[in-house]
Symmetry: C2
DNA sequence: ATAGTCAGGTTGTCCGGACAAAGGATTGAC
DNA sequence: GTCAATCCTTTGTCCGGACAACCTGACTAT
């Protein structure tokens, strides 16, 4: 498989093993005075190198020992950097072989993302129309999802998301009171998740359900679809890192203009 | 928060700090003669304890140093065990505070799972009807997804999945030739992913797209739905750890009988 | 009473080393 | 020439220790 390359390895260390260490030509280095962890610096540099194509898919990374020595780091630190990229699905390790850049196109392993951010990343310049922003007693289903008493006061936010002037999704969200103030102006200008993060809430996990159903007359009118037209639906409950439910949403999408696309990894 | 449970266990080890170490009353231990890694043994035991409720949500885990000493392990090993559970979303670490069991209900963070396994786990006893299992030239879209030449031979498998005697989903899958033999009998008795794993293929990642559309007359007849009824659709390309595309599938589901439910974590 | 300071406890990061396990390639025997 | 045994390389696991960063609660000074 490997041609017998003319290995004239005297001391003239003219590229010792060029075909088995793609990091040799990379300029890697860490800043020990920086507060950002060394393993993180390294993993970011490697990820950037993969991103811009300096590390091509399938190329070997060179063994950890040598890499550590070259960077003046310990092997555990280098391993931690590599491991984080393995967890992201960018690298694959094989005992006895080495670490190589994964072959396929891995974009993003499905983050807990907001529709607004998704659209903005796609260059769609989304517009938002706030249809409602009120306080009201929680219906039974909402109270159950948010783990609060039925009838307790909750915020109800209804929004219409448009792209290119056309409606794309109808978003109905319920939030517990007292988390942060819900300014309608901000709601129109940015996404809900961004507002929550800005308010110091660290999102942890979400439970989602994606389905489909026929549009009611009211739904059809909102989204500019005929009654009975297929709609893509999503319900989601979001939790912060203390386990509190911080948001429950019911969304409907026009399937001609939106679909859920994501990448997922097998969990080791 | 935690009542001081009266644990009369043996020689008066009168629970040093009962409210700050919920693992104290657990019987944890590792088998050093086992080939399974120590950190994995520990993480499994902790996960099982969480699963069965021995470790209640919000309870502290006790500091790593002491836990390591109690088990006769080193701190890095204990950390590795805990870290794997943090990655799964079962635990939350806070510097200066400790490690605690996450409060919310985290079931499964969206694995790369097969419909068959999902149904079986739900106790549905799925049935499969193999409608087609043939070799044919790859259409353009399939060839692009599988990264092979257009017109190259591929397997086409069409199946109908039923629960309680009613059709639930129509599955159309394309596979490259030469991976493994596709026995129709096995296809009817188990899932495609299980067959692939059994054939030594290690799945790595998949790219999915979930949408909705109205049923055509043919689709409606297959799934016992009227034409124009809303259907839930999913396309998926699966890759193995070498980056090869090993499967491309187009599935349609009856939304009244199936929806995608999953949990997702914010990636740190 | 309030605010700032300090100390204790816990996780985060990093180091250096050691041996085991697995895969590939070479070598040897037949 | 083919197959098996062996060696080498590389990652996997594990250890023990050290210091830094951070949070909490108590204490002190205002």
């Amino acid at each position: 498989m490997q041609l017998p390359v003319n290995k004239c390895h005297g001391y003239a260390r003219a590229v010792p093993k060029p075909e088995v260490d793609s990091t040799a030509s990379l300029e890697l280095g860490v800043d020990r005075s920086s507060p950002v962890p060394l393993y993180f610096q390294l993993s970011q540099q490697l990820e950037a190198a993969i991103e811009r194509g300096a590390l091509t898919p399938g190329s070997l990374l060179g063994n950890e020992i040598e890499l550590a020595a070259r960077l003046g780091l310990s092997r555990p630190t280098v391993r931690q950097a590599i491991q984080s990229l393995v967890d992201k699905g960018l690298l694959v390790r094989r005992r006895g072989v080495g670490t190589q850049v994964v072959h396929s196109q891995v974009k993003r392993p499905l983050e807990l993302s907001s529709l607004y951010d998704d659209l903005e990343a796609a260059g769609q310049r989304p517009a938002t129309e706030v249809l409602a922003n009120v306080l009201e007693p929680a219906p039974a289903q909402v109270a159950a999802a948010l783990q609060i008493a039925e009838g307790a006061q909750v915020h109800r936010i209804e929004r219409l998301r448009l792209t290119h002037g056309e409606p794309m999704a109808h978003l109905c969200n319920y939030l517990p009171t007292g988390l942060f103030d819900l300014d309608s102006g901000q709601l129109a200008a940015t996404g809900l998740y961004r507002m929550m993060r800005a308010a110091g809430i660290t999102l942890h996990s979400a439970r989602q359900s994606i389905g489909a159903r026929a549009a009611t007359a009211e739904e059809g009118e909102r989204l500019d679809e005929p009654p009975g037209a297929p709609l893509l639906t999503m319900q989601r409950t979001t939790f912060d890192d203390t386990g509190r439910a911080v948001e429950y949403g019911t969304h409907t999408y026009r399937p001609s203009r939106y679909s859920f696309e994501f990448q997922l990894l097998v969990r080791g």
